[in-house]
Symmetry: C2
């Protein structure tokens, strides 16, 4: 089918990203629990910018060179040597405003660097807290889109898939979608949308178990709530910025 | 959670297989449209055995050495140099009984060789035509299971995911499942089970489009029908055999 709509794909895991036309697309980095939710929260609360880095060592290193907050998690907890973690509640306005955050996370920052290495046409980050901003941005660009799920150590996860489905539910009709993963994400979202939190619990999502085990139910609820930090997050020259 | 149940995982694409404990598991090769449906049909109809090979060249080569039927497809059509294709209707009893079939397909045979290279504890093939046999076999073995979707050139597809979900729907409670992909497959299947064919059409599945474009709607219906070729298909020493 030929039409003038741009194409939309969903990559359910970083291991699958190479199957899609990254260099011709805007890639949306999706790491709902919790990197891209926390990124939205910090920028919404006035952080100057966020520098996403791949390793804890790099994070510590930048922390020695510039005035910044070093933050990150490994396996869901604050990484050794860093000061802050990956919870959206750690970054209220009174703490984060006008500050630079250097962030490393298990899955989200890794996927971002993969998209970068593959010369994505553009990179933004998305999660439920900024879903409207993501959708508005994608509609305005009129470019191909890859919804890139960060997953968990390359294993597909439910929450990132749900976010991809939510975006498709909102703006899918403006794109040409010949992609079973996108259809699956939409099906999942339609099943879950009445109550995303209950769906996560019910489906025994591995992330839900992991995080609720750390007492982070409040974080999970935030990360699944639409538009509580509704800012467009664009990656430009090494930094994530609010647009 | 520790319990005595064996573990079950779903690998939605060959690109994800390495994330799962292949060497400790029985891998079910799932290529609903159409390799593992056709394999079930041919063995159900009395084929002596099936030799799955990775390349068309290898298939032609074996055809020169032994008395056999050389068959296979690339991109959904009979591959050049081979005599038969990948439709279950090409292998009725009067044609295939007691014969050796050498088969190469785009995705299914590739995944099988990946499981083999990774020393899977056991390899069987499954699709809707032999779903009961698959489930009975897996229950009897009491081993870890990986439901391995062959996908389409590594892109996740709906029909293989639906079969994984159907197996989980039947026997999931006998396994420990900490795997979001399995939960997704089950959710998809529950949405689709009333009418798998209509679901495939509705979701605009890429395979459905591809095959229905070749006039293969009859094939698709067969491949989605439970227990029409209900035979256990086990891979042993280079051959797929009915057990």
């Amino acid at each position: 089918m030929t039409n003038n709509k741009p194409e939309l794909y969903t990559s359910l895991s970083p291991s699958l990203l190479e199957l899609y036309p990254v260099e011709k697309s805007i890639v949306v980095i999706i790491d709902v629990l919790r990197a891209t939710s926390t990124i939205a929260a910090a920028l919404y609360n006035g952080a100057k910018h966020i520098i996403p880095v791949a390793s804890v060592a790099e994070c510590i290193n930048i922390g020695k060179q510039i005035e910044c907050i070093t933050a990150g998690e490994r396996d869901g907890q604050i990484a050794e040597g860093l000061t802050y973690g990956n919870s959206p509640f750690e970054y209220p306005r009174e703490f984060v405003e006008n500050k630079t955050l250097v962030l490393t996370t298990t899955n989200g920052t890794k996927l971002l660097h993969m998209a970068l290495d593959r010369n994505a046409k553009g990179i933004i980050t998305g999660s439920f807290p900024n879903i409207s901003a993501v959708c508005d941005y994608l509609l305005a660009q009129k470019q191909n889109v890859i919804l890139g799920c960060a997953a968990w150590k390359n294993r597909v996860n439910i929450e990132d898939t749900l976010f991809a489905g939510a975006v498709i539910d909102r703006i899918g009709k403006h794109f040409s979608i010949n992609c079973d993963s996108s259809q699956m994400a939409l099906t999942m979202y339609n099943d879950a949308k009445e109550d995303l939190f209950e769906f996560m619990k019910l489906k025994n999502a591995s992330h839900y178990q992991r995080l609720s085990g750390f007492g982070l139910e409040k974080d999970i609820r935030y990360c699944l709530t639409e538009d509580v930090a509704n800012v467009t997050v664009v990656y430009e020259q090494g930094k994530l910025l609010a647009k």
